[in-house]
Symmetry: C2
Subunit: 571 residues, 2 copies
Amino acid sequence: MSALLPESGPGDPGSGCQRSPKLRGAGMMMPRLVPRWPAWLFCWRAACIQGASVRQKMWAGPSKIPGLGGPRGAWGTSPLVPRGSCSASSRTPEVTLTPERYPVRRLPFSVVSEDDLAALERVVPGRVITDPEELEPPNVDWLRTVRGSSKVLLRPRTTQEVAHILRYCHERNLAVNPQGGNTGMVGGSTPVFDEIILSTALMNQVLSFHDVSGVLVCQAGCVLEALSQYVEERGFIMPLDLGAKGSCHIGGNVATNAGGLRLLRYGSLRGTVLGLEVVMADGTVLNCLTSLRKDNTGYDLKQLFIGSEGTLGVITAVSILCPPKPSTVNVAFLGCPGFAEVLQTFRTCRAMLGEILSAFEFMDAECMKLVRLHLGLSCPVQESPFYVLIETAGSGPGHDAEKLGCFLEQVLDSGLVTDGTLGSDERRIKMLWALRERITEALSRDGYVYKYDLSLPLDRLYDLVGDLRARLGPSAKHVVGYGHLGDGNLHLNVTSEAFSTSLLGALEPYVYEWTAGQRGSVSAEHGLGFKKKDVLGYSKPPEALQLMRQLKALLDPKGILNPYKMLPTHA
Amino acid sequence: MSALLPESGPGDPGSGCQRSPKLRGAGMMMPRLVPRWPAWLFCWRAACIQGASVRQKMWAGPSKIPGLGGPRGAWGTSPLVPRGSCSASSRTPEVTLTPERYPVRRLPFSVVSEDDLAALERVVPGRVITDPEELEPPNVDWLRTVRGSSKVLLRPRTTQEVAHILRYCHERNLAVNPQGGNTGMVGGSTPVFDEIILSTALMNQVLSFHDVSGVLVCQAGCVLEALSQYVEERGFIMPLDLGAKGSCHIGGNVATNAGGLRLLRYGSLRGTVLGLEVVMADGTVLNCLTSLRKDNTGYDLKQLFIGSEGTLGVITAVSILCPPKPSTVNVAFLGCPGFAEVLQTFRTCRAMLGEILSAFEFMDAECMKLVRLHLGLSCPVQESPFYVLIETAGSGPGHDAEKLGCFLEQVLDSGLVTDGTLGSDERRIKMLWALRERITEALSRDGYVYKYDLSLPLDRLYDLVGDLRARLGPSAKHVVGYGHLGDGNLHLNVTSEAFSTSLLGALEPYVYEWTAGQRGSVSAEHGLGFKKKDVLGYSKPPEALQLMRQLKALLDPKGILNPYKMLPTHA
């Protein structure tokens, strides 16, 4: 069985604009009405119920609840466009060439000749792109911070075509930049100089789906959102979900070991990816596209390529295990008086919601300020220093509502949460998720963004944010913290009117040294790409770097695959 | 914080005997009584309720249920000893030396000299074992099918001691056999010739445990069961559980990428292991012992060592993510009229139990016959062609019981299940699990066992068993099939009075070719070790074998780590 999936824009950030609220909704599992859900729990101030018994609460109907209906009116009119992309393009018409901003020198690869173009044309007839206008978007990352000068983009349809291309480039010593949806955050998916761009955009076939095991096998260029829709129609969901789903390719997700919103529940791709087909630097096809949940025959080679950001091989097909689609989903959006309360809410949540917890996200008051300021979204609860978004996904609507109800009562009564609102229908769930998912977009509208994606011990997760506010003072426009708290993953972002070397100097290496001091990770889920490759040493010891270099030399002796990325420039 | 955990027997199979029913119980989460559970559901014949309404069923009390109290009386007196071990030793006093049964030639490693012993004594004073009697158990696998002739066993306590040992052995070209609990199924943990045995038995310290994140960091020699008890006392469970838990070491579990009984729920070690400390062949210490749930800085080196069976490096410490301990556990043991019904029961189960399903195991009637014959266990339900064991683990006792009740009613009414019994208290849960967990022990008492651990597509999972019964006829004593159905993992076992070359010839390569024909795996969870290394090619293409050899050459250029294992003898 083979099904053609909709093609994303040719790797351009703008194509993310196609991501509509409906599609985010499709990711939600048609939650049912929960009759046992007490009205007073949907949205009310904890202040109202001090000392009130459950009975008294039951008497209080929605009409008595303050703050309902008002600001939320803005919701319906607020369009959900994808993070950053469109706004970014309107903000900065031109992006500085990467070698002009960053200290990097071209390696001695060959330059694409007319003969090369003719040879490549024979491999992928009519799919060798050389038109400068068509080449502009794939040369620029969607954050519009790096820009390459590639003169050629290839759009293979099959693994064999990819194999021929790499065999040829390997012989000719031509550098290659594999590219999926080009939604990377660290300049890993765009060329640095004139690397040939190898786009997976036309490799968008579902190869098979097994409706009992939930194993999906597809080409690397399938757009994540299209795959989500495909498997949801069959009673399953993708084990990963992220803001860029409307543009990102599954091959890119695997190549960057994408984390996202469902990792807390379904674990990392290292566990859910069952098999890969990879074309290696010399054009050899490595077929490890098994659909087996368990296979202990030899070294697990696919793990080499998961998270290797296209530097060890080009992923051409993926076999992935999809979890059954939960029959009911609820989202609670809560306000917390402090970060200590956020952590305590997480502990309580894990204990009381157990197996139905599917996401625990947090954002600070600055984030809320920015989504209101730049996107016109309004805060659905009383203003608080911190906000928490909790999603449950389960197979028993009544059971889940009961668990969530008890949990909310507990955190509200104990003062861990000062206000909360709940979404159990598709529209409201989308609206609540938008507050968290569109922070990146709001930030990109606020100015130049310095992005840090850190893994830190839970109890120190937010310390760095306050620390930086004090350190940077007025030189920073905004310093915000949000992220996947359930995974110990902080997204720390700093904005300024324009790129400032002095501000960058105040941020780096300070942020990396602080993180290393906590034995954290300087890249939790974004990878290293081009922009973060030189900070690898903050999270890994020299012996590890040495072995990584040896692996790169073994799998890509000429270094033609995604050069200038992932591994530090200097030994 | 550092805690000393009980030491297992010095890697000897017999040490498995220490595993008492109490300990299996410790793995269970003190299930509570479920008031909403209708008595009629605990055990009754579907035949009794044809056409009966729920109301009528409710009237029928336990006293009216046939088959209660009878055979189950045998339960209390039936001791739960670990699989295989004790019986095996009593069965075969002497094990043929590996090179006498298998075609294998010693590689040109150095032979341990008096000077070597003196040098090693300086590294691990008083922990260099050369007494032939002490060396007997670690030279033999617990299935008693292979036997090495090692003259030296070393028992380091620290990573630095392991580093010194390997640096020395690397310089002297001495072969090393890393050994944990020596519970492997494929002869991977015992020497083939005179390799030095490097035991992790004294490396049994818990290094840290975080009671919010559930991240456990410990030395490689910690016994799985001891770790289970340690984390359960703190409100968590280990993400893996297997029959050999009383002896196996966590380092060995990771080195073999052990699957076991909880993989269906918590996924593979490739997702739950967060970090590793490994000593490489030349004594270099690779410290990737991070406790972070997410870390995308560089290639994920730990994955190289997970499942590499000690051939690429020696794991000295493990960081692993422990799931919160479920507050309630239920086990249902069901009889099915055919394998088609087993599969349909699994489909129904996944749909109706959703997130609380924690195990789905199956066994055929021959397995039940053997546990009755050799262990005196009695079948708790009506005799059936197939039996299914379903475990649920959740955070809401009432909710779980309700889900399980609806599911059981559905499968009983539809005829997918002809009889069923339930365990909700610790003792009964252990008894029901024993029927499944002690099959291996019963088999080892039945004669010589030919073991196959296969991953197959669900709908073909059982075909090979019937196929072999027809093919082998009376030349086989028993042909049985059981395993982790939820993971597509079949344990196919054939017994005969004694080892028979002709029977082996009828089994191999037939079983492997059949499996390859289904694109299955010839080793789902046991690994390849020594006995299966030459069948790797049935599940992996030549390009993969080539890359595996290159990785071995890169990480262990002299090939001193666990030689004669994992990779095929011939190119």
